[in-house]
Symmetry: C2
Subunit: 348 residues, 2 copies
């Protein structure tokens, strides 16, 4: 390792093999019209020299970029974004694409900048895992890139990949109902305060509809306490559950709209000496932290990786549909059980 090991070019290879550069390219690209001996000789030289084509020159010439941009929000890293990113990665590798990752840092200005950077790179597609500003998704589209919005989306038209939150919510609440619970509280973020409240609405409506169907009275606690710091995302869960515990009758179950909210709730319940699920059942949503919590949390698993995979497939045109909707899955762990006699008695 000396100073700056200049990269080899096809000219070097051509010279070493005693052929023209055109022949080298043909061998590299598996063009059949090259005599076998020539082919072998070139191959030998290539591997002997350790030559690697210059993908930059190649892209310029062929206009094949084989790269997609993945723009994450400022929330990254969180399990959701990370898992989506991972799925995307996997699928990209599988299909021969590479991924440029950017973060919008939740700022429209920064988002514009990264979209422009992606455009300059002439990426084939721009995938937003939580876009900030509709104009930016339009901008990406105008530049000729395919555009995909994952889970959350602005009004801007594009391919979308999301999960059926309503259905997942129904399953969660219906599990509680089937266990015998009738006094079930809901804690979640206020749909109207979120950038795109559709996820929050779906989960909340699923809860309301499920209760209504059996004539149970809802108890909704919507987050006024929005906390943007990932490190203290449990805090709202703690606050909501405290409000609930301050009422005359404690519900027999709580449906938290996210695992993080549930985590906060579990902490308070523990501090108050209430056992889960003996004294109160808890269900989460996402299946991000669920398995690590105490007790292991029953939750609705969002197929994060699959979202990423689907997003990539759409991004490179390997999918027929333009609007994919994936199903969530209920995962029953140890935080749910039937209401005990004690609880039922206290309700009378």
């Amino acid at each position: 390792v000396d100073t700056k090991p200049q990269h080899l070019t096809i000219h070097d290879v051509a010279a070493a093999a005693g052929v023209s550069t055109a022949t080298v390219t043909r061998v590299l690209r598996d063009d059949p019209r090259v005599a076998l001996p020539t082919r072998q000789r070139v191959r030998a030289i290539v591997s002997q020299l350790g030559y690697q084509v210059n993908a930059v020159a190649q892209s310029l010439r062929t206009k094949q970029i084989a790269t997609v941009a993945h723009i994450l929000s400022g929330l990254f890293p969180n399990p959701f974004s990370s898992n989506v990113a991972r799925g995307l990665q996997e699928e990209a590798t599988k299909l021969g694409y590479e991924v440029l990752v950017y973060s919008s840092e939740d700022s429209p200005r920064v988002e514009t900048e990264v979209v422009q950077a992606a455009i300059r790179r002439r990426v084939d597609a721009v995938i937003f895992t939580t876009p900030v500003n509709a104009d930016n998704v339009v901008l990406a589209g105008h530049a000729g890139a395919r555009v995909v919005q994952v889970e959350r989306s602005t009004g801007a038209p594009s391919i979308t990949v999301r999960v059926d939150n309503y259905c997942g919510g129904r399953e969660a609440v219906e599990l509680l109902l089937s266990l015998g619970h009738r006094d079930i509280a809901f804690i979640g973020l206020d749909p109207d305060r979120a950038t795109d409240g559709s996820i929050e609405s779906a989960r909340l409506n699923a809860y309301l509809d499920a209760l209504q169907q059996v004539g149970a009275r809802p108890r909704v606690l919507l987050g006024q306490h929005y906390v943007s710091d990932v490190a203290s995302f449990q805090t709202p869960g703690r606050l909501y559950i405290e409000e609930i515990l301050a009422t005359d009758t404690t519900p027999t179950a709580v449906f938290a709209a996210s695992d993080l909210l549930a985590a906060g709730a579990l902490q308070i319940l523990y501090a108050r000496g209430l056992r889960v699920p003996d004294d109160i059942s808890v269900v989460g949503f996402d299946d991000t932290y669920a398995a690590s919590l105490t007790p292991p949390l029953t939750t609705v698993a969002v197929p994060m990786r699959e979202l990423g995979q689907a997003a990539l497939r759409c991004a490179v045109g390997a999918s027929l549909e333009d609007h994919v909707e994936l199903k969530s899955q209920l995962v029953v762990r140890e935080s749910t059980g039937s209401p005990t006699r004690r609880q039922v008695a206290s309700l009378m």
Copy 2:
């Protein structure tokens, strides 16, 4: 939006502005030797047309790639990798670089492939957050890229960025000691079974040394149960703590070599009806899951984001040092307390 909006070139801009392409470039690159009126006219055309330079052509010509490759292990996504990735991202944006993310999937073969892909792209640097095979880091170096290994490293020489795990471990155990604990168990992975056991060793040795200094007897439970599935990483923690609880005397505190292990331990403790920290104190390591656990876990915070930032700075030559070592930080939460009379009595 018609069919395929051809990208504009510098020629289009030049024609529209009635100047040569050379002038357009100069304006774009803020070359001072362009008359003000000309400059303004070109600028106007550029923004009016929405022209964006073709970074591919630009890179080919200038040989400035301004891109680094970040190769993650198959463990990704986990909070560690994700946070490192995030720090890297931030710093890259700040310094004008872009990041290509790859995953080695823990396979030497795949790792070789992604390193080659990075080389073909002529990236300025290759950053490994958990390299698999030393040959691949050598390969990257041979190709003229700067190479950085984060936290774990193979024997191959390169820039390294890591954290002082020994020091962090000492602080954790010394906290327990200062609280009055003398019977402290250690649960962790066996250093000899890890790819690069230096992290595991450092944490274990810190524990052993700290106990030795006060003459306390160590109780080490090393993981024979290695689980590679992220979804069930709590499992080992559960198994180890069960082994501990099966002994005659229960320790008054447990030092878990990672938050995930601690999470598993907390779950078992809860199931057995033991209160934390009243009956037993628990300390973790990493500060990944700690804040979400029940009770909020006292742990040693690893500066993951800072690792990523430092890695990027080293990767682009913006750092003076070639071997960075960052300090961890003890974060005291609610899982630690003094041993109670009951515990002390039971030890007699």
